[in-house]
């Protein structure tokens, strides 16, 4: 099949994806960008299955024995931001939650050792939530609400994630691009209480120039806009 394309130049020969933004230089396949690649494939649902199959195979190969995903050590040659530094437990938790969330949405969770990844995530619970990153909470909300067989701990994790998200949203402590991601996860997982808080904020985060705002910098505003547009598209389906 002809592959002169827009998405595929970002997928490497090993099946992983390289950064498309300015967060890190270098063509190395990273878990954080491979998660974004899964998001793009989830949004666009191409009938050509090879890019997704290659992505899933990359993730199968890079899953650690203990069930988690982490950025490769070679990433340190590229001066990554703190949230991409390997060997950090909180980073491993958010990366694993991100991969699991998208694989579950795509129905490809059986292609990796998903149970081991879930056990790793469950072990990361501290009190009502996960350490450091809010991201882990909306990924966790989706994952632990959407499992076919939920344990009591899974329900507890989902409730804890929802409480943390609602609290931060209510305190206006969430960047607009993350508000959209939370609304998306809440919508897809049926977490109405979270969605009802997040979605009106998404609507209100569109600026007069048509783009959605973000505090991550103007270079991220197109991405913020696309996230909101795909949330709208998901609600139309």
């Amino acid at each position: 099949m002809m592959c002169w394309c827009i998405l595929l130049p970002h997928q490497n020969d090993d099946g992983g994806w390289e950064r498309f933004d300015s967060d890190m230089e270098g063509a190395l396949s990273t878990i954080s960008q491979t998660w974004v690649g899964l998001q793009w494939l989830l949004w666009t649902q191409p009938s050509y299955p090879v890019p997704l199959d290659r992505t899933v195979e990359f993730l199968r190969r890079t899953q650690h024995e203990e069930g988690y995903w982490d950025e490769p050590p070679e990433i340190l040659e590229f001066n990554p931001p703190p949230w991409m530094v390997p060997g950090n437990y909180a980073n491993q938790l958010w990366l694993t939650s991100a991969v699991c969330c998208k694989l579950l949405e795509l129905g490809r969770e059986d292609d990796v050792r998903f149970d081991a990844a879930l056990d790793f995530l469950r072990s990361g619970l501290e009190g009502d939530g996960f350490p450091v990153f809010l991201h882990t909470h909306w990924m966790g909300l989706y994952i632990f609400r959407c499992l076919n067989e939920q344990t009591d701990l899974d329900r507890e994790i989902a409730r804890g994630c929802a409480s943390r998200l609602i609290e931060d949203l209510s305190n206006d402590a969430v960047d607009p691009i993350d508000v959209t991601a939370i609304a998306h996860a809440a919508f897809r997982s049926g977490a109405k209480d979270v969605f009802d808080v997040a979605f009106p904020m998404v609507v209100g985060n569109q600026a007069t120039d048509g783009g959605w705002t973000t505090g991550y910098g103007d270079n991220h505003r197109p991405q913020s806009t696309i996230e909101a547009m795909h949330l709208a598209a998901a609600r139309r389906l």
């Binding site: 827009i6 595929l8 649902q45 609507v203 120039d209 048509g210 547009m229 795909h230 598209a233």
Partner: protein
């Protein structure tokens, strides 16, 4: 509070990405509006494959 993102809001969003985003971003935005399909995004004469 609004319960929907209107079609007009989506059009304005698409215009914003057209003015400020890369070709990749524009393709993903256009997909959200239904203007292109997933295969249009994958198969597009823009850049050679790796």
């Amino acid at each position: 509070m609004d319960r929907v993102i209107s079609e007009d809001a989506l059009e304005r969003g698409l215009e914003y990405v057209r003015r400020n985003g890369s070709e990749l971003m524009l393709a993903l935005a256009a997909h959200a509006t239904g203007a292109v399909s997933g295969d249009d995004v994958l198969v597009h004469p823009v850049a050679p494959p790796k």
